[in-house]
């Protein structure tokens, strides 16, 4: 119930605060250090140099900055979907998205850094890497450089920095090529790594859509002003991210300071139980979201599935054919594609659904196909004589279904239904891809920002298990209550211990 209020509150918040101007900005905080990330996995502490920059911009625009989480791959799609106004997350204009997005003047620049393990001596520059395995971020500039120009390097694309870096430490790759400031941040934060080589130059820009060109003009002015009056430099210095490329960008003298490591090593913090207690509220909130999405999608699935099953079995041929086609279509297409279609596709024809509704609808429809087959099997399992007896008593087809067939079919359908509920509980993690912060996404954010995939993983696994458990028990109770024949439930005892 609490999560319901939470969602309603979310829906109303935008209405209530309508008179205060808001700059909606988005980034991927999953393993996003030092750009945008959660400090030590504490989801109430969003930090990062890009966050500082955008908040500064928002302040000068006279608005309140409002953060929206989205996956890096989907950030631009979300812009077009009008989920937020701007994206600030290490995007550079070179990356070939000009037709759908507009880029501001750069606010930061850096090189590409090649990170290796401290004890590796054989790699001095990127040219030494031929034959080696090099990790990069998926669809980053580093990836395009390596795959296009250095063909004898085996390139592995990673979804986020932390995965790449932990693979480097675990010796699954020989080196990784990352944006300079990310490389600097991690080599400072984690032991056993060093930067071997630095080359090329990337510039970071704020991204928006052509729709917001006026806003972008204002942002361009602000970035220029910030460069002039030193406030941009203050932020960059605060995060200790100055470098040659950046200095060239700002036309200030290069003065790279020695790193001052004032942050505690993350490995030390991991071990404190305080950290687990601190993240627990976020997990519980996310679990509520997951549970709510699962229950609502299952309701959609059951209602739709039942309709499809009845249409298929008891309706005229053309309706039955329609139902079969829909069922085949829905279960033949991956859930992920349906989800993206509903969320990012439907707006193209004028149907724009909020993320939660889109997620519940897509999940519900996908599962409706499976539930309809469950119901069909359940109805087929009811002896035909039941229908005859009902019809002979003068009931029409609908009355017979409603009072005689379906109540019995439901008892047969309950076990597979429970099965599917637990499956939907897990499949609901996919809705994180359309910006919903549910359990899996929360885990990824917390784990990647606190460098603790093991402990957090154990917690999240336990939560999923605990959510599913009562439903399995509930179904067991319901089965007992709805039993048609005592015999059916003791039949497994036939033969007793001689049963083989």
């Amino acid at each position: 119930m609490k999560s319901f209020y939470f969602i309603i509150l979310l829906l109303f918040r935008s209405v209530l605060l309508a008179d205060e101007p808001v700059l909606r900005w988005a980034a991927d905080a999953e393993s996003g250090a030092p750009n945008v990330f959660y400090e030590n996995g504490d989801l109430s502490k969003l930090v990062g140099f890009e966050k500082d920059i955008i908040e500064h911009i928002a302040k000068r625009l006279g608005c309140k900055a409002e953060f929206h989480q989205n996956d890096w791959d989907s950030l631009i799609s979300g812009l077009q979907r009008n989920l937020y106004d701007v994206v600030i997350n290490g995007f550079s204009p070179e990356e070939g998205k000009e037709n759908s997005a507009i880029f501001s003047n750069p606010y930061y620049a850096c090189g590409l850094s090649l990170i290796i393990r401290s004890n590796t001596d054989s790699i001095k520059s990127i040219l030494d890497c031929s034959g080696a395995v090099v990790g990069v971020l998926r669809s980053s500039k580093a990836e395009s450089i390596l795959t296009n120009s250095l063909k004898d390097i085996k390139v592995i694309g990673y979804p986020n920095e932390y995965c790449a870096i932990s693979d480097l430490r675990d010796k699954r790759v020989d080196a990784i090529l990352l944006d300079g400031q990310i490389a600097t941040y991690y080599t400072k934060k984690l032991s056993g790594l060093k930067i071997a080589d630095e080359f090329d130059e990337i510039k970071y820009s704020v991204v928006s859509t052509p729709r917001n060109s006026e806003l972008m003009a204002a942002i361009n002015d602000i970035i220029r002003d910030m460069q002039r009056d030193g406030s941009l430099d203050a932020i960059v210095s605060k995060w200790d991210l100055r470098n040659v490329s950046y200095s060239r960008l700002c036309e200030i003298s290069s003065r790279i300071e020695t790193p001052s490591s004032n942050l505690k090593s993350p490995e030390e913090q991991n071990k404190s139980t305080v950290q687990y207690l601190k993240v627990l509220p976020f997990f519980i909130k996310a679990a509520c979201v997951t549970l709510m999405i699962s229950i609502l999608s299952m309701c959609v699935a059951i209602v739709l599935g039942l309709c499809f099953a009845i249409m298929r079995v008891y309706m005229p041929k053309w309706i039955s054919f329609f139902a079969i086609s829909v069922i085949e279509l829905l279960r033949g297409i991956p859930l992920l594609i349906q989800l993206f279609f509903v969320f990012y596709g439907l707006p193209c024809i004028g149907i724009t659904l909020p993320p939660l509704v889109a997620g519940i609808l897509a999940l519900g429809m996908n599962y409706a196909a499976y539930e309809s087959e469950n119901f069909r099997a359940g109805m087929a399992a009811v002896p035909y004589g039941q229908m005859e007896a009902a019809r002979a008593l003068g009931m029409n087809q609908w009355q017979s279904l409603r009072h005689v067939i379906l109540p019995q079919a439901f008892t047969f359908v309950l076990p597979p239904l429970t099965n599917d509920f637990i499956a939907i509980l897990k499949d609901s993690s996919l809705v994180s891809l359309i910006t919903i912060m549910e359990l899996t996404k929360t885990y990824m954010l917390i784990a990647s920002n606190s460098f603790n995939f093991f402990g957090m993983g154990a917690i999240v696994a336990l939560i999923y298990f605990l959510i599913g458990l009562p439903f399995a028990q509930l179904a067991k109770l319901a089965e007992k209550h709805l039993k048609l024949e005592k015999r059916a439930y003791s039949s497994r005892k036939i033969g007793g211990r001689y049963n083989r």
């Binding site: 002979a392 009931m395 048609l484």
Partner: protein
């Protein structure tokens, strides 16, 4: 046979086939109110199908059935299906059916089994339906079983409950499709006794059965069928003592 002039059930030229297999071939007969009629004959002779046609569980292919003034015509099914099913619905109101395999609703108690159709079809009030149901259950000797579920009953009890369920719709005719065939021998009598009681009250009943002794003792008359045709309609004593047809004689010889 009774002497009343207006027949309650009148069947003329009834035909039914499954593909090329002709199950009923031009069957015609009439039954008057209050009669107890047994239909006998070898397996596959069409006697069950005949009974199911009377309740529209099978759609007749030709001919017509009239029960208490409601007329069901095969031509209507082809030309005006809505009218046909409307008629069928009306016809079913007057006809109660009891099946070989009871077909009680397993998810409901006996009381709910008997009240369900009253409430759903006739829109009776709950209390009224319950009162009638209780009196019917007592009548078939199941007054103490009203809260029990079908799985906890014996075969004979189940069949008696099924009869009570059909009676709750206040039918003018009761049809029984081999009501005792799946019962243990010692339970047959309790079901037959219910039917005898109903006969004494003047209920019109048609029974498809292999219980020759019951057919002989209780029936007003007997229809003998073979190969989808009525071979002989005759007084219960006459058919057993002095069958007119050779086929009837051969069939009865195996039983008697």
């Amino acid at each position: 046979m009774s002497n009343r002039s207006e027949p309650l059930i009148s069947i003329s030229n009834l035909c039914k086939d499954y593909g090329r297999n002709k199950i009923l071939k031009h069957v015609s007969f009439q039954i008057e109110s209050g009669d107890l009629v047994s239909v006998i004959g070898p397996s596959g002779c069409g006697k069950s199908t005949l009974l199911r046609c009377l309740n529209c569980l099978e759609v007749l292919d030709d001919g017509e059935i009239t029960i208490d003034g409601v007329c069901l015509r095969a031509v209507d099914h082809e030309k005006n299906e809505d009218l046909f099913w409307q008629q069928a619905h009306e016809l079913r109101q007057n006809v109660g059916m009891v099946f070989q395999s009871f077909n009680l609703f397993p998810h409901k108690t006996l009381l709910d089994n008997v009240t369900l159709a009253q409430i759903v079809v006739k829109h009776e009030r709950q209390e009224k339906a319950k009162t009638l149901a209780m009196s019917l259950l007592e009548k078939v000797g199941l007054g103490n079983f009203s809260g029990r579920y079908p799985w906890s009953l014996s075969g004979g009890e189940k069949q008696r409950a099924a009869i009570a369920r059909a009676l709750a719709m206040k039918p003018k005719v009761m049809l029984y499709d081999e009501p005792t065939s799946s019962l243990d021998p010692e339970m047959v009598e309790e079901v037959l006794q219910v039917m005898r009681d109903l006969d004494a009250e003047g209920m019109t009943q048609i029974i498809v059965t292999h219980e020759m002794r019951f057919a002989k003792d209780a029936s007003d008359y007997i229809i003998y069928m073979e190969n989808g045709e009525i071979i002989e309609i005759s007084d219960e004593d006459e058919i057993f003592i002095n069958p007119q047809d050779d086929r009837t004689r051969r069939f009865l010889k195996r039983y008697m």
